[in-house]
């Protein structure tokens, strides 16, 4: 591990650069029915989708900002809904081959290393720039097996039956203010359908990039894993740093049918001026398996609690999440599992590190509904606080409405021990490096679940964030 730590050199400007703005359309600041009609018309959407958008807009206006009450976060008050561009169209169409992507955007993703990753180990790639997906590809072998991997806008046109059947069924617009906002102005996102019994054994990837200032990105992802099918999806997010806030408010809906298996991995590395308010929810039916692997390194404020509804006997859920909060950051993350069927099992593992005045919050719900007998839940939360300016909260909600259930929750909070540091330093490792080794070791249960390239990337990011943490 020492050698690994020593050889990793990392250039943060890789993410921090910004492109000149050359858009075919950019909506004015603020939101109105007009803006929504405009977005829908520009996309050439069917009437039913426009109706949904307008309904959701009403709900968005009626719902209060959740700054008071149980799931409250007062920092949300800093968000100015009128200062945001809700729709920014970077180009005319989705590129099918890399050459079709406009030059300037292609450069962006090349700098981020996307084409290289695609060649190496991905089954399919989607890349979203501002509001629209600019590139999409799926390897022929998977296409032949009936796997569908599209941007959600195209899916509305090409797969209307599937979209109509599932869109908004897992996260209805009325779920929360940000789900309503997303439903009203959504654009882009991934649509995946894996047919019965098809096992996609290498990951599908989407990459999300916000470039413009005061931009709102509202992608909408819908994933259906049919009976006995398997897949793994990875998303990455970056943006350049501006002085004013941008908003990322996605909705992700996932359905894993009987016996299906799905893993959703996120490496979120937004710039520190992005409000990242995301609703992610999955349902897993009989004997299905759903996993969220969720890494939060960037953003100003993240509020994200990926959830799993275990709806069928024997379903399994797993949420593995890590959060890293540096100066000016608040990672308010966690996970929810709702056991609604008998003999379902789940595990939530959370690791968080705060440093330089950053704050991490774990919020979670572990619920066993009445009638869901024979369930097992295991929750583990560990937090590391690296200096006395930083803070950590752990707020797990546990609700058990069934006697025949086993639930265990355990949390610890600590700092890096003097002995650990002393041990490493006595072996000639400088303190800064020793600190970063300990933090990487702490995060290891998470990183080992990532494909190798991502694990290396995440380790680099953390090391970079850790720089200057001694002194």
């Amino acid at each position: 591990m020492a050698t690994q730590a020593a050889t990793l050199e990392f250039d943060y400007s890789k993410y921090g650069f910004r492109d000149e703005e050359r858009y075919t359309f950019k909506s004015g600041k603020g939101l109105s029915e007009e803006v929504i009609r405009e977005i829908s018309a520009m996309k050439g959407e069917p009437e039913w989708m426009l109706k949904r958008r307008l309904q959701a807009y009403k709900i968005f206006l009626e719902k209060p900002l959740p700054v008071k009450g149980t799931w409250a976060n007062e920092e949300l008050a800093e968000l100015d809904f009128d200062a945001i561009h809700y729709y920014v169209r970077p180009g005319e169409k989705v590129g099918k081959s890399w050459d079709d992507v406009p030059e300037n955007i292609k450069n962006t993703f090349e700098r981020l290393g996307i084409p290289e990753a695609e060649r190496k180990f991905l089954a399919g790639v989607g890349a979203q720039y501002e509001s629209e997906v600019v590139y999409h590809s799926l390897r022929e072998e998977w296409e032949k097996l009936g796997v569908i991997f599209l941007d959600t806008d195209t899916a509305v046109k090409e797969q209307p039956e599937l979209v109509k059947k599932y869109f908004g069924t897992i996260v209805p617009a009325a779920d929360n203010k940000f789900a309503a906002l997303n439903t009203a102005v959504w654009s882009g996102g991934s649509f995946i359908y894996v047919p019965k019994g098809v096992k996609v054994d290498i990951p599908l990837q989407a990459y999300f990039r916000i470039n413009a200032e005061n931009m709102g990105q509202f992608e909408r992802t819908l994933i259906i894993v049919d009976e006995g099918a398997e897949a793994h999806y990875i998303e990455g997010c970056t943006a350049p740093m501006y002085s004013t806030n941008s908003l990322h408010s996605a909705v992700v809906e996932i359905i894993v049918h009987k016996g299906g298996k799905f893993r959703y991995t996120t490496i979120q590395n937004w710039a520190n001026n992005i409000f990242n308010l995301v609703t992610k929810r999955a349902v897993a039916y009989e004997d299905a398996q759903m996993e969220w692997v969720d890494g939060n390194i960037g953003s100003r404020l993240t509020m994200k609690y990926p959830s799993i509804y275990l709806m069928g006997k024997g379903a399994r859920g797993e949420i593995l999440s890590v959060a890293y909060a540096g100066e000016g950051q608040h990672q308010d993350a966690g996970g929810k599992v709702i056991h609604a069927a008998p003999y379902t099992t789940s595990r939530i593992t959370n690791k968080s590190v705060s440093k330089g005045g950053g704050k991490t919050t774990y919020r979670g719900l572990a619920k066993i509904a009445s009638g869901a007998y024979g369930c097992k839940i295991n929750v583990n939360c560990d937090a590391l606080i690296l200096d006395d300016k930083s803070a950590s909260d752990t707020i797990p909600y546990i609700e058990v409405e069934e006697d025949d259930a086993t639930l265990a929750h355990e949390a610890t909070v600590g700092r890096i021990g003097e002995e650990q540091l002393f041990y490493l330093r006595s072996r000639g490792i400088p303190e800064a490096e020793a600190l970063s080794m300990i933090v990487l070791g702490f995060m290891e249960p998470f990183t080992r679940e990532l494909p190798m390239e991502y694990a290396v990337e995440l380790n680099r990011l953390i090391q970079l964030e850790m720089e200057g943490s001694v002194g």
Binding site: G69, I398, E399, D404, V413
Partner: protein, 413 residues
């Protein structure tokens, strides 16, 4: 041990809460010869109650609470104190708060309302405006009392409301044991208790504090408790909740002086349609403080219990040790237990902090093992539940009380 049931001078009875006015409250207070400071505080608290909304409590259902038609007590006749009066010779005071007003008005004025603020909720406010029942325990410097002191609060009429106040002041190096009990018959229509306990521990003082809620069915119990610690002070705190229809207790051990220590055990048993919530906080606000909390919960029938606990470690504190645990056992399919063991940590120089929570039912193997040894299933269940609560029960300092609690628990299984 002597028993003495104190009666204060009867005064003009108050009307229902909704018909009350500041003037009527002041008139009653003056008629009872209360000091000016108290008259003013009652008036201020009542104004707060009138001017503010009830708090939103997601997990406490007060939709059927009828505060408006409740009739507040007009004297301290619901308070019974039991103790060995020879302790008076050592300067110990243990008497109803109303009686103590005559002799210790300044002391009470100094501490009353310092830890449980009337402007936190309308229930605290109503408590501060209406209290008649209550007790003052004062133990002078370095006085060590071995025998437990005992205060009992009772409710005996439908729609009656009491707001008993337990005020405990231990001077430096003093040591005592206080048992606070809430008892009433079953079947009364919605009596209401709005109790508060304020405990102030001087440097190196030691208190064992047992709060035993054994109301009859039908009672609404909305209470607040605070223990404030001096340097190296320590408290063994026991919170037992068996009775009432609805309970909401907001409790806090405020470890605000270096070296303070609390060992807090709790047992909650909700059955039939009881709904019992406790929100205990361990607040670490000084160096080298040590907090341990272990609550054990049993739910049966359609009982619903909530443990909303929190470990709070404040900024610029060092060397904190804190541990919070809750363990729940379900005895029926319809029962429900919510557990929210929170941690809010603003300091990185902590020795240890963590929490754990488990929930489950009695293992079939355990039952089978006992049945195989000829113990009938019901009896085996009883034994296992009593065993589960044993660590809490055994901490109760009076044998007769322990037996009474075991009996009450067995009846609920």
């Amino acid at each position: 041990m002597l028993a003495n049931n104190e009666q204060t001078n009867p005064s003009s009875a108050l009307s229902t809460v909704s018909a009350l006015s500041v003037d009527a409250l002041l008139e009653q207070s003056r008629a009872n010869g209360e000091p000016t400071w108290l008259q003013e505080r009652r008036a201020a608290a009542f104004e707060y109650y009138r001017g503010n909304e009830a708090p939103f409590w997601k997990r406490t259902d007060l939709s059927k609470l009828n505060l408006a038609d409740a009739v507040p007590a007009s004297d301290a006749s619901s308070t019974t104190v039991q103790w060995d009066e020879s302790l008076v010779a050592q300067g110990v005071v243990f008497t109803t708060l109303k009686r103590a007003l005559g002799s210790h008005s300044d002391l009470i004025a100094k501490y009353f309302g310092e830890a449980v603020k009337y402007d936190a909720t309308i229930y605290n406010a109503l408590h501060a405006a209406l209290w008649q029942d209550g007790v003052l325990l004062y133990v002078p410097k370095n006085v060590v009392i071995e025998q437990p002191l005992h205060v009992i609060y009772t409710l005996s009429a439908a729609r009656s409301l009491i707001a008993p106040h337990t005020l405990v002041i231990l001077e430096q190096g003093a040591s005592a044991t206080l048992i606070e009990e809430f008892i009433s018959p079953d079947g009364l229509e919605q009596p209401i208790a709005l109790p508060a306990a304020e405990v102030f521990l001087g440097d190196a003082a030691q208190l064992r504090f047992c709060s035993l809620q054994q109301w009859g069915r039908g009672v609404y119990h909305i209470g607040a408790q605070r223990v404030i610690f001096g340097r190296d002070a320590s408290c063994d705190w026991l919170s037992v909740a068996l009775g009432a229809k609805v309970q909401h207790i907001d409790a806090e051990a405020r470890l605000g002086s270096d070296g303070a220590r609390v060992n807090w055990l709790g047992a909650t048993f909700a059955n039939e349609e009881q709904h019992l919530l406790i929100a205990p906080w361990l607040r670490h606000a000084a160096n080298s403080t040590d907090g341990y909390m272990e609550f054990r919960t049993v739910v049966n029938d359609k009982g619903y219990s909530v443990f909303d606990g929190m470990v709070r470690i404040e900024e610029d504190t060092h060397g904190t040790i804190s541990r919070l645990e809750e363990h729940a056992v379900h005895l029926s399919r319809e029962s429900r237990n919510d557990s929210i063991p929170g941690l809010m940590i603003d300091s990185n120089d902590i020795a240890r902090a963590g929490h754990a929570s488990t929930s489950g039912r009695i293992e079939d193997e355990q039952l089978f093992y006992m049945q195989a040894r000829g113990i009938p299933k019901d009896e085996a269940t009883r034994m296992i539940v009593i065993g589960f609560l044993e660590s809490v029960i055994s901490a109760i300092p009076v044998e007769e009380l322990r037996e009474r609690l075991v009996q009450a628990i067995e009846e609920k299984i």
